[in-house]
């Protein structure tokens, strides 16, 4: 209970403990803690930055998609137009070809009709002559009635 030399022993022990703590316990722990604090702060900041970047990328992607869609629509429209144009042209070409072919055929037909008519005309004249010869027998000679026959032929 009395104050005695134990006091010095305790004081020395206390001082040594403080010294030990000051050199070997406090600094490494505090360093580790501050370092971790910094790390955590950096991590949080990085996460926030990544989040912002992600958001930006998202809007960029949406933008690109929208643009691409628009472009696709444009291209589709143009293609449609082109197709219409091509079809129109083909139709016009075909129409022209048909017209040309028709005209050629008509001309052919006309020519053939003309020649057939020419032939028929000759044959009809002959037939008429023969018919008349048979009806009249000798009364009519081709020479005597030549003028009449010619008139008949042109009359057909």
């Amino acid at each position: 209970m009395n104050i005695n030399a134990t006091l010095f022993g305790e004081a020395i022990a206390f001082a040594l403990l403080i010294w030990f703590c000051m050199h070997f316990i406090w600094p490494p722990l505090l360093n580790a803690m501050t370092e971790r604090q910094q790390k955590v702060a950096e991590g949080l900041e990085a996460a926030e930055r990544a989040h912002a970047e992600l958001k930006q990328a998202d809007t960029q992607v949406a933008d690109e998609v929208r643009k691409a869609r628009q472009q696709a629509t444009e291209i589709l429209g143009k293609a449609q137009q082109q197709a219409n144009l091509v079809m129109e042209k083909a139709r016009a070409d075909a129409q022209a070809e048909i017209g040309r072919q028709q005209a050629g055929a008509q001309a052919n037909i006309d020519r053939m009709v003309e020649s057939a008519r020419e032939q028929l005309r000759g044959q009809v004249a002959n037939l008429a002559m023969q018919g008349a010869e048979k009806i009249l027998q000798r009364e009519i000679g081709p020479a005597a009635h030549k003028a009449l026959l010619d008139q008949l032929v042109t009359g057909i």
């Binding site: 009395n2 104050i3 406090w26 505090l30 803690m33």
Partner: protein, 266 residues
């Protein structure tokens, strides 16, 4: 129980209040209480080893459980110190941590079963043994005097010799009342460690004494008193746990406050 001595309870208490001492040199001052010094040093070395084991492989990555616990402690102490003192805490932090943990563990010896340690030490040949170093004035005075020395040292460091002298002689009543100022400042300076050590000592001594009185009930020979003693021992033990933590905390905070105040200019 060990109350076979003829003197009964008072004999038992007296027995428990005697230290294991060795004398050297003349006079009663040159006595060392081996129990007080031994227990406090063993506790100090153990806690240093424990803290060091966690601290020397401290990482800033994911901490182990031990490291996390010690960090919790360090953060708590660091927060307390920084609340009081805004400056270089390279000494004050470790000082506060040492005080808190050391005093806490020394106080905790108080809730050890009262007779176990003295009995074991008795087997080893010690006639007396007091297991609670902080219920011993030598321990608390040693700590508070160390704090006093640090207070004076930091006063000189912060204000310079002339500044500190000037403060001692002129504050609070001005230069015309220099002797009176000196007296006031000396009283103020000395009352700090005195109150600091007396507070801790008084609390722990009273706690220990109460445990002894309650233990007296256990040995009184009546079943009712025995039951009362068990209940009392438990109740006081739980309350004492609170006191133990609070006293360690108060000792730490006041030490920090005193040293921080020494560095403030008036």
């Amino acid at each position: 129980m060990m109350i076979e001595a003829p003197g009964g309870l008072s004999e038992y208490i007296n027995h428990h209040l005697k230290n294991l001492t060795i004398h050297f040199g003349g006079g009663s001052f040159w006595t060392v209480q081996l129990d007080t010094l031994g227990v406090s040093v063993v506790i100090g070395v153990a806690l240093s080893a424990l803290l060091w084991a966690c601290a020397h492989r401290a990482t800033s990555g994911v901490p182990s459980r031990g490291q996390a616990f010690v960090e919790l402690l360090v953060e708590f102490v660091d927060g307390q110190v920084k609340d009081v003192f805004h400056g270089d805490t390279r000494l004050l932090g470790p000082l506060a941590l040492t005080i808190f943990v050391w005093v806490l563990l020394m106080n905790l010896m108080d809730v050890m079963p009262l007779d176990v340690i003295p009995y074991l030490m008795g087997l080893a040949g010690a006639e007396h043994f007091r297991a609670v170093p902080t219920s011993e004035l030598n321990t608390t005075f040693a700590m508070s005097l160390t704090v006093l020395i640090l207070t004076i040292f930091y006063s000189f460091k912060a204000k310079g010799a002339s500044g500190y002298m000037k403060e001692i002689f002129t504050v609070p009543f001005g230069p015309w009342l220099a002797p009176f100022n000196l007296l006031m400042n000396l009283i103020e300076l000395l009352s700090k460690p005195l109150s600091l050590s007396m507070r801790l000592f008084g609390n722990m001594y009273a706690g220990e004494l109460l445990f002894m009185l309650i233990a007296g009930l256990l040995g009184a020979g009546s079943t009712i008193l025995f039951g009362l003693g068990v209940f009392g021992y438990l109740a006081w033990g739980i309350f004492e746990l609170l006191i133990i933590v609070i006293q360690a905390f108060i000792f730490m905070v006041l030490s920090v406050v005193y040293i921080a105040m020494a560095q403030q200019h008036h």
